[in-house]
Amino acid sequence: MLKNLVYSALFAGLAAGIIVAALTISMLVPLLLEAELYESGMLIHFGDVTVPTPDIEVEHDWARNGLTALYACTIYIGFAFVMVAAMAFAQEKGVRITTRSGILWGLAGYAAFQLAPAMGIAPELPGMIAAEITQRQIWLVGTIIATMVGIAAVVFGKNWTHWGVGLVILAIPHIIGAPHPEVFGGTVPPELAAEFAGRSLAVGAVGWIALGVLSAYFWLQESA
């Protein structure tokens, strides 16, 4: 059992991590590099004065991209361990796992780890002003846990009490509210920041759906 769990999580996490690494390096890293030009003062923009969109081609640093890919695989292997454990637990409780239902498992993980946290703290570029890091991390962890528990209660609940409690738990982090900065005035143009936030959530959705399907696939293979 343990060996099957570990192997399927490793395979699924590695495969999803490679997909996410490719998407991150091609879609997100160029925006991060551009934001760093504003952060360092190489490029400047001011709120009420328009400046032409800079015509720059950012240069990839492949050593840095290598670390990003390595880290993408590490963190997705971490996600996969949680995902496969959750699937195996559900299976013990009589829930049928299929590669197709893996899509829903992936979406649930995406909601817990990225979508719900982004409602309070949008994905940030370097050079943006944000609240104190420890406060943000506490809110992030709390939101991830509450969303996982809430979704489980709504999906696997059997009566209105379960569903109601699940919905309340889902709402609590957003009723409390995320910590926000006391001042505005980041160096990054809002246009760039918005593009990054949108792309980050899209890449996350693809990565998590892939992770859900792959986790279900490898878990079914290993446990068969």
Binding site: L2, T68, E92
Partner: protein, 56 residues
């Protein structure tokens, strides 16, 4: 040993394995996602931003 007890014991070891794997995953995520060592930060920087984990 009856089949029922065997099934019960198997189910218990399964649950322990599952809990262990979940704990491993959460440990990886905690260290990779939130630990603030400088080396880890530089390695993780772009990806932490990409998945929206608080970075600095």
């Amino acid at each position: 040993m009856t089949t029922a007890t065997q099934t019960a014991i198997k189910s218990d070891t399964n649950l322990i394995s599952i809990a262990f794997v979940a704990f491993m995953g959460l440990s990886v995520l905690f260290i990779a996602g939130f630990a603030s060592s400088a080396t880890l930060h530089d390695t993780a920087h772009d990806m932490r931003h990409a998945i929206g984990f608080a970075c600095h």
